[in-house]
Symmetry: C2
Subunit: 344 residues, 2 copies
């Protein structure tokens, strides 16, 4: 591909803005359109909205048909919602306009366990229009699934897999600390869980299903446990709040893939203030055994932006259809000029 | 593919034997032939030679044409030599018999830097015969290249990469300890280097070139430094030998990928007795930065066997041609029944 890759941003939230900023430092790629329904964003220049010091000459529009019809993008970076059924009509429309899709929709990272028929329908539609659809991100999409799968490549045998992600929320912004319940009493926390003000991590189920699918494992069930509070044992002070002993420091959630009564895949996600270490760990009980750890844990927002941008050449080069991370070539950072990694 | 995958073992050395043992625990795959030129192996049953407690009904033959012609394998597991030009005629013959190839030839993991024309010729020939050729292993093939590339997938920007593999030879067999020079004086060590009795790790150059290729980096040069002794500071006793202070504990080798005067990729390989920790570490200076470590380091022999076996479905499913690890889907352990991961 000799010309620039044309990208439309669908969803100008925090990740969307970062994607715009990161793309502005690349060559061979151009943001040609942006879609968002928020009144506060409509009509604004994408560059200014993203915090760049210059206009990009592209304004945010709520009109999907107009943007896609007029710009004819190669790829739409889709960042609107977490649930497959909710984004399905949006994806159908993008595909019908003949554009490839990289989406951060968590459930799209392995949609077959949400609604197999709908996933197959999307796959057929993508093939019909000659485009590729991929759900990705840092988690789901990489740390608790694709990276795990990759490491099993060095194993002759795999018996059991344990993955742990621990985020020290003390180093994060105030909204994140509040979101995970830091500083609440256990009662308040449980009440917010009930009212769905605090919700779990979407995608643990997808990560387990993606791993099992790559390894050819037939799971009997995937159990996603309730979100639980991580209770502080001693006082924790952050820049924004104080957590007293017995109060909530954050949250944790565990999911398990079970086959023949055995826990074959265990994912353990924790985010709380005062964590002594933050890390991403993968333990594979196999031949050979593999104990891998990333310290500190990979930054979620930048990691997601990276996974999204780095998937652009992969989806353009891939055969058409609805793909998952296990179907595509190994992830890799894109060069400064994106055209380098596009097949001509 | 409903029938069993037919495999020929080309090279019944230590890795070849382990591959036979590992394949014997899988379903949907059958060793249909074995090639080796060693007088001591010819005519022996592959199962017995590999240390299985049963015959496989396949005997080792030195006659490549006979074995390939009679067995018509889907894949040949090729494990003979380290250098691309030496194995080239062997690979050509396999391809002409219409079989896919997974090879542990170190230079084949990225042969373009050895002889670009020869590599392109092999690619054309593979396409002509509709087969796929892959050079892989644990190192080169995974720890110092494919895994590195995979981790950069979570980076928006990559400035510099450092990879370190430290093997504690104290835990290895005596021949390995002797091979790396443990117990020699520095003079003896350097003499053996000169006489090429002790040689460096083959493949560091390939690993650097593979990473650069995946990231779209143009390197000015790849510098592979001389093998150097790791000198013991205190006495080290192993089950087989004693190293006194000032004597050689093992060896180390460094390779660098350089662009515009900057060291962009550094690979540091060390194997010595008395290492306090053995590990595989990857440090990516990027956005976000990633510091990853596998402790203990991945077992080289089992890791290579795994990479080879796990590549069987990938090469069968891949489009024809000479491929490198970056071109194929993410590595993954094969299920017990290999047929599960084959496209029909």
């Amino acid at each position: 591909m000799e010309r620039e890759v044309k990208v439309v941003i669908y969803g100008m939230g925090e990740i969307g803005k970062r994607v715009v900023r990161a793309l502005s430092e690349k060559k061979g790629v151009k943001v040609v359109g942006a879609i968002d329904i928020a009144e506060s964003k409509i009509g604004k220049d994408v560059g200014e909205l993203a915090g760049l010091d210059r206009k990009l000459g592209v304004v945010v529009s709520p009109n999907v048909d107009k943007v896609l019809g007029e710009t004819k993008p190669d790829v739409v970076i889709h960042m609107t919602q977490s649930y497959f059924k909710k984004v399905f009509p949006q994806l159908v429309k993008i595909v019908e306009y003949g554009a490839n899709v990289v989406s951060t929709c968590e459930e799209l990272s392995y949609p077959y366990i949400v609604d197999e028929n709908l996933a197959k329908k999307l796959d057929s539609l993508a093939k019909e229009h000659g485009v590729t659809i991929l759900g990705t991100g840092i988690n789901p999409g990489f740390l608790m699934d694709t990276l795990v799968i990759t490491l099993t490549g060095a194993c002759v045998k795999v018996n059991k897999i344990k993955v742990t992600r621990v985020i020290n929320a003390s180093t994060r912004r105030e909204p994140f600390q509040r979101k995970i319940g830091a500083g609440l009493s256990v009662e308040e926390f449980n009440d917010r869980i009930k009212k769905k003000i605090i919700s779990g991590h979407v995608g643990l189920e997808q990560s387990i299903a993606l791993i099992a699918s790559a390894l050819g494992w037939k799971l009997d069930k995937i159990v996603v446990e309730d979100v639980k509070p991580v209770v502080a044992e001693k006082e924790i002070k952050t820049d924004f709040l104080v957590v007293k002993p017995g109060q909530v420091a954050g949250l944790m959630q565990i999911a398990k893939g079970i086959a023949e009564g055995e826990e074959k895949i265990i994912l353990d996600f924790r985010a709380f203030v005062g964590a002594s270490e933050e890390y991403d760990a993968i333990e594979i009980d196999g031949l050979p055994p593999i104990n891998e750890k990333i310290v500190p844990c990979v930054h979620g927002d930048w990691g997601t932006v990276a996974m999204v941008i780095n998937s652009i050449p992969k989806v353009i080069n891939a055969p058409p259809g609805l793909k998952t991370m296990k179907d595509l070539p190994v992830p890799s950072a894109t060069p400064v000029d994106l055209r380098v990694c596009l097949k001509s």
